[in-house]
């Protein structure tokens, strides 16, 4: 196999345009090869690609077509590149919203957050002559964030209101009886029928993409066999290049090329991690014993206080209530665990149960479409909000306590809390 150097820039551009679609959506044609390469490298690092030879490739894009091929194959397997591309470019006819109750694995939530890559590359404003930032400036920025969040809230509310109007007005008109009303796209199509041509084109191109994908799936094993030969040649090159090997172990896991780091490095890292784990474990044990002894102290203290039987039974009653509340919350959570969804889902308006949602094929489970009613979700989120508010109040109390302690220690200083409402 001859690795032509003219292939490298093309491969860089390919990777750039593909990855841009997943992160951020839409290429800026004016980006130089340099910026493109930096972007591709940063995305691969984010996803955990650890091959140092790749990151050492020059930023003019002149060499490295084999490395790029490896990286591309890694992406194919690791992040399901093709499936993600299909999903991003899907034609959306139905009304959708994205769901996040904040309980899902960090990875899923993280993906949503990191879809917009721009913020990552812009650095904080230069601090100027002083190295520190004035806290009033931070308060200013925090305030701006709060206001922007509120503006976003206004946007969402408007969207909900208008969506509701459309759903109510078109209720009873849809051929599909389970849905009963039109989506925004469908309504728009009725108002401007000429747009159907555009929609048809989009659907046709999506169909051809899906057909191509199916073809690819049939030929996929051939591709991986070829990649194995590429890996073989690479290993040979490495052996011939350096006598002392930083050897790359070839694994045959799932026919896919994993990221190749040196075995020594891996072993070192594992040792380090084991040490960290042990230290953490010890630390946790210490904390637990500390807390236990604190608790015992507290209990003894409380016992001394609560000699009065009436007070005692009152206190027990309160504790009972709190525990029951927590238990019921837990029960509710366990019972509804199967409803934990994350990601986009379809919005359907139901008269009897105002607005329910039907899960999309995003969930790997092969069970029938899951129906989650919006009111259930709202209740769940409200309970969560109440819990978090309580936690916040507790933390605020602790801070206030600390502050008063600090101020007590200072002469001629008083702490004036803000006005009570």
């Amino acid at each position: 196999m001859v690795w032509g150097t003219r292939l490298s820039p093309e491969l860089w551009r390919l990777l750039y345009s593909l990855l841009k679609q997943i992160h951020e959506g839409g290429c800026t044609k004016s980006d130089t090869i340099d910026t493109q390469i930096r972007f591709v490298k940063s995305v691969l690092r984010y996803h955990g690609y650890g091959r140092s030879e790749f990151y050492q490739l020059p930023s003019d894009g002149s060499v490295g077509s084999r490395e790029l091929l490896l990286a591309f194959s890694w992406l194919l397997h690791r992040i399901n590149l093709l499936e993600q591309l299909l999903s991003v470019n899907r034609v959306k006819i139905r009304d959708e919203t994205s769901l996040c109750t904040g309980d899902s694995k960090l990875g899923e939530c993280g993906d949503n957050l990191l879809k917009s890559w721009k913020g990552m590359t812009e650095l904080a404003p230069e601090p100027g002559l002083k190295n520190e930032v004035d806290i009033r400036y931070l308060q200013w920025l925090n305030g701006r964030l709060r206001f922007q969040w509120r503006s976003l809230h206004v946007d969402y509310q408007e969207q909900c209101k208008l969506l509701y109007k459309i759903h109510v007005y078109t209720n009873g008109s849809h051929m599909d009886q389970t849905v009963g009303h039109f989506s925004v796209t469908e309504t728009d199509l009725i108002r401007q029928p000429d747009n159907y041509k555009q929609l048809m084109q989009l659907l046709e191109s999506e169909t051809s993409r899906l057909e191509a994908f199916l073809e690819w799936k049939q030929l996929e094993p051939v591709y991986w066999q070829w990649m194995e030969t590429v890996l073989d040649t690479m290993v040979e090159d490495v052996i011939t290049c350096s006598a002392q090997d930083i050897c790359s172990k070839k694994t045959t896991l799932a026919n896919a090329p994993l990221c190749y780091c040196s075995a020594d490095n891996i072993v070192e890292e594992i040792d380090q991690l084991t040490k960290d784990l042990v230290i953490l474990g010890d630390g946790l044990c210490d904390v637990v014993t500390c807390k236990k002894s604190e608790w015992h102290e507290k209990i003894k203290g409380r016992e001394r206080e609560l000699l009065d039987e009436k007070e005692f039974s009152e206190a027990i009653g309160k504790i009972h209530e709190a525990v029951e509340l927590k238990l019921s919350e837990l029960k509710y959570q366990c019972a509804h665990k199967k409803n934990k969804m994350h990601g986009p889902c379809r919005l359907v308006f139901k008269d009897k149960h105002p607005a329910s949602k039907m899960g999309f094929g995003r969930s790997r489970a092969k069970e029938a479409l899951m129906n989650v009613s919006a009111s259930e979700l709202i209740n769940e989120l409200r309970m969560k909000e109440a819990r978090l508010e309580k936690e916040l109040k507790q933390l605020q109390e602790e801070c206030r306590h600390k502050l008063t302690e600090v101020v007590d220690g200072m002469d001629s200083m008083i702490c004036i809390p803000p006005m009570k409402r």
């Binding site: 009033r136 308060q139 200013w140 709060r146 206001f147 509120r150 809230h153 509310q157 006005m419």
Partner: protein, 453 residues
């Protein structure tokens, strides 16, 4: 991007009525000086902001009118209806049969809670009419009795019921030699309560507006109506649609949010002053021409020297040299000094607006040390002229404008409080001395924050 206006008390209702008048007459203005398309876009945005459609075709103001007496409200309702251009929703008002003795504490602790549900129902109805509720704009006087007390309570209720909405309070500062003997108490109580629930307080001083009427508009017998009209004109020049970013094609759909974000993100600094230039009587308008450089220069000096209008500006005041420590800047009790800003917003309307150079406002010397002009200064523009002024510029400023007036009021109130004069009028209805002290402390904190800029 609809704004629901809550008119509180006599002052609030009269000013609110003039504001809608000014907006409506600008809406119908034939001197737009811009393309037809631009004008239509402007009118559409204006309509969505302030009026809702009704079957009769006459636009209905998005407003809730609140007062303890029926007289002013019925006057306001009928005057609006007679105009033929717009009207109020005649269901959207709340009043009682008899007044309530002009007492702040009575308004805040008694009438407020008693009528909370009725009033909030009206507000909720108006809010639901909006497809997109940008926020609330309340109009009230600060020193009155029930209007101010109830106003403070209603603002609190608004905040509780709409935690994610923007709330802008327009507050009228009383005449220094006002009639109400406890006006300083009322002012202190109103301001400290508003500061907690509201996002921004936009202040108009009666004394300053009175001077504008006398010197700029050449009005001989100045009535409250004249004063209210000037205030309405100034407010209109802020609230009418604008493009809030460079190269924007559509009018902003988030007027209150944009305003808040550019001026009052910091929770300690919420006091906003408003200046508008040029202001003159209609007769003189026909014979005057203005240039943008001239207008901008005057506006900038008005900011720096804390002038209330474009005549009598002190041109000697200059920005301080960089590097001077804060302690060298004057304290509030001394003579006129340089007015340090936290943030400024300039709104330009009319002919050749694209070519205006506002570089003078981006001078870092104008601003406090911890905020750079990039963050602190914003400019909004529209080529559509406002209310017969070929070119007009408004400045909304979060600066030391109100430092001295606030200091005066707090000082006078404190002197009265030290001898416990009239305090029983308040304790009678549940405002205790402790509450007074809390309010004084809160305002002292505000004063100190602004003084140390």
């Amino acid at each position: 991007m609809s704004v629901v206006t809550v008119q509180l008390g006599q002052c609030g209702n009269q000013i609110g009525h003039e504001v809608f008048n000014a907006i409506c007459s600008d809406f119908h203005s034939t001197h737009g000086l811009c393309s037809k398309k631009e004008n239509e876009s402007y009118q559409e945005a204006c309509k969505e902001r302030f009026f809702s459609e009704e079957k009769t075709g006459v636009p209905v103001a998005r407003a809730v009118l609140v007062d303890m007496e029926p007289k002013v409200i019925s006057q306001t309702l009928s005057m609006a209806a007679r105009s033929g251009c717009w009207k109020y929703d005649h269901q959207s008002h709340f009043c009682q049969k008899q007044g309530s003795g002009n007492n702040w504490a009575n308004g805040y602790s008694v009438h407020g809670p008693r009528h909370k549900d009725a009033i909030m129902n009206l507000v909720q109805k108006e809010a639901e009419k909006c497809d997109r509720l940008s926020g609330f704009f309340t109009v009230m006087s600060m020193a009155g009795g029930t209007g101010s007390g109830m106003g403070a309570f209603v603002t609190q209720c608004l905040r509780d019921a709409f935690p994610a909405s923007f709330i802008l309070n327009q507050v009228v500062w009383p005449y220094g030699t006002g009639e109400v003997i406890v006006q300083n108490y009322n002012s202190v109580l109103t301001l400290s309560h508003l500061y907690q629930s509201s996002d921004a307080l936009l202040v108009h001083e009666n004394d300053a507006i009175h001077k504008i009427c006398a010197q700029l508009m050449n009005i001989k017998q100045i009535s409250f109506r004249d004063v209210n009209r000037v205030i309405a004109h100034q407010l209109g020049s802020v609230f009418q649609p604008t493009h809030t970013s460079e190269g924007a094609v559509r009018y902003s759909r988030n007027p209150l949010g944009d305003l808040m974000e550019s001026l009052v993100p910091h929770p300690e600094f919420k006091m906003l002053g408003l200046r508008n230039i040029p202001q003159m009587s209609e007769n003189s308008l026909a014979y005057s021409t203005f240039t943008w450089p001239g207008l901008i220069k005057h506006l900038r000096q008005m900011l720096i020297a804390n002038a209330k209008m474009e005549e009598g500006i002190n041109w000697q005041v200059r920005p301080p040299l960089p590097g001077l420590p804060v302690s060298q800047k004057c304290s509030p009790s001394r003579a006129p000094h340089f007015n340090t800003s936290i943030a400024n917003l300039v709104i330009l309307r009319g002919k050749d607006v694209q070519s205006v150079d506002v570089g003078g406002f981006r001078d870092a010397a104008l601003y406090t040390s911890w905020l750079n002009p990039q963050d602190a200064f914003n400019v909004w523009k529209t080529p559509r002229a406002f209310n017969k002024y070929e070119k007009s510029a408004a400045l909304v400023s979060n600066s030391q404008f109100l430092l001295k007036p606030l200091d005066d009021i707090v000082g006078k109130a404190w002197n009265m409080f030290a001898s416990k004069a009239y305090v029983h009028q308040y304790t009678k209805f549940g405002i205790e001395e402790e509450d007074f002290l809390d309010c004084f402390t809160a305002l002292e904190q505000v004063l100190s924050s602004y003084a140390s800029l």
